[in-house]
Every structure is written in structure tokens, then in C-alpha cells.
């Protein structure tokens, strides 16, 4: 039996976010909100472990009330229950404050039934920070296993998990003690399609909501106040000065270009 928590975040589909160059503010209107793609793989991983070893999967999200949507998606994929952490006091939390709040919620879950595994996505595509997972692991003192691309197995007796981590130019096989926190990459698994009954169950499920008063929190450590980082300004990415179009038929153009590159010795002789 494994007690598992999956942290899922609702994010704007970043392909659609633009900046208004006049006002330097984000144009988010009409941008669809989605389940962070890596988190979907985290849910899938937990559900697969539940199928293999038995246990329970809790999907956990901090966000505005609309974030319920991504929790329902997780339920449709096989999570057993969902908890939404929602409070105005959480607004403006950076990664340090976010991991503080999520860790407090995991502690509360742990008090009911001890938690063996926490899953996060490798990173959230809105900020791409990859900091919340390690932050939660550090606060809970869980074994931290990031960039997990395969789960080889869990030894419930010895309380160990063996995984493979995806690093730049290598793969690492590592065994960690439970409880552990895993951040996962997309190679880990193929997502399943939610079945119709599962979708109906997910749509009807009640989602537990916890506010700041349901958790043991220091008010100075949440929201804007609890966030050491702040955004000074946002702006459109600077454009690199454009250059020279080389005219002519392919052969001519190629000859001119090559002459330029060879003359300036940018391309040296081999």
C-alpha cells in the first residue's frame, strides 16, 4: 500500500501568452488554462504505482477556485481524491512560499495516513523554475529524486524506491529511501485516455478545499509577504538586429555567402 500525493498546477497554455509592447503587460486574455503537461505524467505515474502496489492517490493543487478543473482532470486519470488549496492570502506566492504551503498541506495529509511518495512535474511551463519540487522535499526532509524517467520498482518491506534519472548526457540509476519526492519528465510514461465512467465520476466528485486556516501556517511565510523574489519589470524579448538578405539564384547566393564567411575566417579551414 502506497500513500501518494501528486502536486498539479493549472498553467496558461504558454504558447499563447504574449506581451503588449506598449504597456509591457502580459496579454493573457483568451489564453486557455491547462494542466501543466509534466504534472499529467506525474499523475499517471502515481496511478500506475497504485495499480501495481495498491494504495491511494491524492491530487493537490494550490490556486484560484478555477484550478478545480485540473484536479478533475487528475481524478479522471485515476486519482482517488482531490484537495484544492485556495485563499486570497496565497496570492502572489513565489516558489519558496508555494513550496511552504504545499508542504504544509502534505503534512496535514501525512497526519491522517503517512505519505510515502510525493510527485511533481519536472517544472511548470509558465515559470519553468523547477524549484517547487525540491522545495517541498527540503521542507519535508524527503529523499529528493528529480528528472525521473523510469520507476524500476518499490520495495515496500525495505521502504525503498529505485528510479532512473535523466541527466544531460547520461542516465542515473538511483535507489532512494521512502518517503521520497519525485519530479518527473515526459519520457516516464504514456498518458492514458480517461474512460467515460471515470470522467463522469470526476465531474461529480466533491473537491475538498482548504484555506489558510485549515493549515498550520505562519502568515509571514505565505503570499507576497512570504516571497523573497519580486518581479521588477517584464518586457518583450529584445530583438537581435537583423542582417543582410543575400539576393540571387541559389548558386549565386551560396557563393556570395560562403565567400563572406570564409573571408572573415569565421569558418576556418579544416
Amino acid at each position: 500500500m502506497l500513500q501518494m500525493v501528486v502536486c498539479v498546477k493549472q498553467v496558461p497554455d504558454t504558447a499563447e501568452v504574449r506581451i503588449n509592447p506598449r504597456t509591457n503587460t502580459l496579454v493573457r486574455a483568451g489564453v486557455p488554462a491547462i494542466l501543466n503537461p509534466y504534472d499529467a505524467h506525474a499523475v499517471e505515474a502515481a496511478v500506475q504505482l497504485k495499480e501495481k502496489y495498491g494504495g491511494q492517490v491524492t491530487a493537490l493543487s494550490m490556486g484560484p477556485p478555477q484550478a478545480e478543473e485540473v484536479l478533475r482532470r487528475a481524478l479522471g486519470m485515476g486519482a482517488d481524491r482531490a484537495i484544492l488549496l485556495s485563499d486570497r492570502a496565497f496570492a502572489g506566492s513565489d516558489t519558496l512560499a508555494t513550496s511552504y504551503i504545499l508542504a504544509a498541506a502534505i503534512r496535514a495529509i501525512d497526519r491522517e495516513t503517512p505519505v510515502d511518495l510525493v510527485f511533481c512535474g519536472k517544472q511548470a511551463i509558465d515559470g519553468d523554475t523547477a524549484q517547487v519540487g525540491p522545495g517541498i522535499a527540503a521542507r519535508l526532509g524527503f529523499t529528493q529524486l528529480t528528472y525521473v524517467m523510469a520507476i524500476d520498482g518499490v520495495d515496500l518491506e525495505k521502504r525503498q524506491i529505485q528510479v532512473q534519472r535523466k541527466l544531460e548526457d547520461k542516465r542515473e540509476v538511483i535507489r532512494g529511501r521512502l518517503p521520497a519526492l519525485l519530479t518527473v519528465v515526459k519520457d516516464l510514461n504514456e498518458l492514458r485516455y480517461a474512460s467515460l465512467p471515470a470522467l463522469i465520476r470526476a465531474a461529480r466528485a466533491t473537491i475538498t478545499t482548504w484555506s489558510k486556516d485549515d493549515l498550520d501556517l505562519d502568515p509571514a511565510s505565505i503570499g507576497l509577504k512570504g516571497s523573497p523574489t519580486s518581479v521588477r519589470r517584464i518586457f518583450a524579448p529584445p530583438a537581435r538586429p537583423g542582417g543582410e538578405l543575400i539576393p540571387g539564384e541559389p548558386r549565386q547566393a551560396a557563393a556570395i555567402l560562403v565567400a563572406k564567411l570564409v573571408q572573415t575566417k569565421i569558418i576556418a579551414d579544416k
Binding site: P12, T14, V17, R18, I19, L26, D94, T95, L96, D126, G127, D128, T129, Q131, G133, P134, G135, A137, A138, T143, Q144, T146, R165, L167, D169, K170, R171, E172, I174, R175, G176, A180, P228, T229, S230, V231, R232, I234, F235, P237, P238, R240, G242, G243, E244, L245, I246, P250, R251, A253, A254, A255, L257, V258, A259, L261, V262, I267, D269, K270
Partner: protein, 323 residues
């Protein structure tokens, strides 16, 4: 900066040197590992005034817990204003744990770092929302100000042979049981674009290639130039090249002397990974393609004609020059 040195460590020393200069403070490097003392010479050569060295068998293979503990203790003892790490997998794994333990702010994947002379604050600039937006982040009241920087974003500083500095050995009481994990095996992934981020010439293809077969034309060009192949995400998603070849926001950042963008439109997520190239050559049949806005040289045309012509011209002109 741990164990086997990732080249980004030296790039960080270059960036750190400038920040230290602006703040009029010293620049220190940190070496954690086992049998890594020899690297102190490298750190001095690349600009460190001082090196903190923690050698311990527990730090042999990288595990988060002992590395984080060692770095946290160093920070608490020596109180740096700024702490920089490489945004490699290991660097990001470690920085998140360390920033949390220190209760300070951390800005990931910075592409520019500057000191505001009035406030002495570190201005940390990074792409957000998939590269569509840049944000400058401050960490006003907590220390150290922590940032990770992607490999190849900052230039490698010149190596000053024989430059010496101070070595500070620090003993930290680490226990194997507290490592929480055991590395059983490390499997090198052979045949991958491991050196793409260090390549001097990158020949990259996008969706415009149309098929895997057409990659051959790029391979021939790369072959003549001694270059390395690269890809846009669209080319990777089409299955023409494996993910390790992807350049951009969710791929590798490159900083070659010459970057050929062939059949690549120039989406912002691609540009953030290659716009630090010294020279960008774009080949695209669409004169309106955004890649031409960043290209040093552009040729509007069908790559099926342009690329073989380039390969042949390079062959001819390089041969002519060497005789």
C-alpha cells in the same frame, strides 16, 4: 560547481567576476566532491579569488541531501551576497534544495545578471511564459541572492594561466546514512548530441526539411564544416532527430560561431536557444519568416537547392584557400 566540472562553472566565474567588480567584493568558487582539489587551479585561472573546498567521500557521487547540506553550511559560515549555480540538471536539483533551506529567493535560468549600483541589488533577467516574455527579478531583503544560469548563455572568460588564489579547506561532518540515496549505476548515453552546446558550428533543421531523408543534405554540409546537427522542436516531434538535438527554450542553448537555421521559422522558443550565436545564417523559402529578423545573413529559397549549393561552395572555396 561540483564533482566533475561542468563548463558552465567557468562561465559563471566570468559572470561572477563582473558582478564582484561592480560590488567591489571578492569572487569565490566552491568545490564539492572527492578528489577535486586540483580543480582549484582552474577556478583561479577563470577568475576566482578564493576557492572553498569541501572534500568528503560522501560527496563522491552526487546526492542532493549531502551536497545541499555542505553548500548551506558554507553559505551560513561565509555569508556571500550572491550565489550562482549552473542551470544543469544537477545545478537545478541542488539550488532548489539549498534556497529552501536558506529561506531565500532563487531565480532559475537567468540570461542576464546586472548590479543596480544604487541599491547593490542583483537584477536577474530570465525568460518566462515559454520565452514569450522576459522578466527581471529582484531578491530585495534575503541573502544570498541566488540564481542559476544556463550553460552557454554567458561567454567563457579567458583562461589566465598561472593565476593563483586562496584555498580554504572546510571540513563538514557528513554521514553516508544522511545521503538518503545510493547511485547504483550511471549509464552514458552514447551517440547523442552531447557536445551540441559546445559546438562551434551548428547546422540545424526544422519542419521545413519535410522528411527525415532530407537530413542527409544537412549532414553533408555539417560534414564539410566539421559542424554538429541541431533541430527545432518541430523536427524533433516529427521524429527526424532525437530530443537531445533540440535547440531552444525546452532544449539546449547553443553559442556557436555560426548557426545555420534551415527550414526553421524562428519561433521565440527556438530563438532563445540560439540567438547568442556569433553569426546566424537563415535559409527559408518564406521571405516573411521571423528567423530573417535575427539572421546575420539570410537566403530566401528552397533549401533543397540552397544547401547543396552551399556545401559545394564551401568545399570549393575552403580547398582553394588551403592551396
Amino acid at each position: 560547481m561540483a564533482g566533475e566540472p561542468a563548463p558552465v562553472s567557468w562561465e559563471l566565474l566570468g559572470a561572477g567576476r563582473q558582478l564582484a567588480g561592480a560590488l567591489k567584493v571578492e569572487l569565490a568558487g566552491v568545490l564539492l566532491g572527492q578528489g577535486v582539489e586540483g580543480l582549484a587551479n582552474e577556478a583561479w585561472a577563470y577568475g576566482a579569488d578564493r576557492v572553498y573546498l569541501v572534500e568528503d567521500p560522501v560527496l563522491g557521487p552526487y546526492r542532493t541531501a549531502p551536497y545541499a547540506r555542505a553548500l548551506v553550511e558554507l553559505v551560513q559560515r561565509y555569508r556571500p551576497e550572491i550565489l550562482l549555480l549552473g542551470a544543469t540538471s544537477m545545478g537545478r536539483d541542488l539550488s532548489g534544495a539549498v534556497a529552501t533551506a536558506l529561506g531565500t529567493g532563487l531565480t532559475a535560468d537567468c540570461t542576464a545578471l546586472n548590479i543596480d549600483p544604487a541599491t547593490r541589488l542583483l537584477e536577474q533577467t530570465r525568460p518566462a511564459f515559454g520565452g514569450n516574455v522576459m522578466a527581471t527579478i529582484l531578491c530585495q531583503r534575503h541573502r544570498p541572492q541566488m540564481a542559476t544560469v544556463r550553460p552557454r548563455v554567458m561567454p567563457l572568460p579567458p583562461r589566465q594561466e598561472g593565476r593563483q588564489g586562496e584555498l580554504v579547506r572546510v571540513g563538514i561532518d557528513l554521514k553516508e546514512e544522511e545521503a538518503l540515496a545510493t547511485v547504483l549505476e550511471v549509464i552514458e548515453e552514447k551517440g547523442k548530441a552531447v557536445y551540441l552546446d559546445r559546438a562551434e558550428i551548428v547546422v540545424a533543421g526544422g519542419r521545413g526539411l519535410g522528411s527525415r531523408e532530407n537530413l542527409r543534405l544537412l549532414e553533408e554540409l555539417a560534414g564539410v564544416l566539421g559542424g554538429t546537427l541541431g533541430a527545432s522542436r518541430a523536427a524533433v516531434e516529427a521524429g527526424w532527430l532525437p530530443p537531445e538535438y533540440q535547440v531552444g527554450q525546452t532544449g539546449i542553448t547553443v553559442r556557436p560561431k555560426v548557426y545555420f537555421a534551415i527550414g526553421i521559422s524562428g519561433a521565440i522558443q527556438h530563438l532563445v536557444g540560439m540567438q547568442n550565436a556569433d553569426v546566424i545564417v537563415a535559409i527559408n523559402k518564406d521571405p516573411e519568416a521571423p528567423i530573417f529578423k535575427v539572421a546575420t545573413y539570410g537566403i530566401v529559397g528552397d533549401f533543397l537547392e540552397v544547401v547543396p549549393a552551399l556545401t559545394e561552395e564551401f568545399r570549393r572555396q575552403l580547398a582553394a584557400r588551403s592551396t
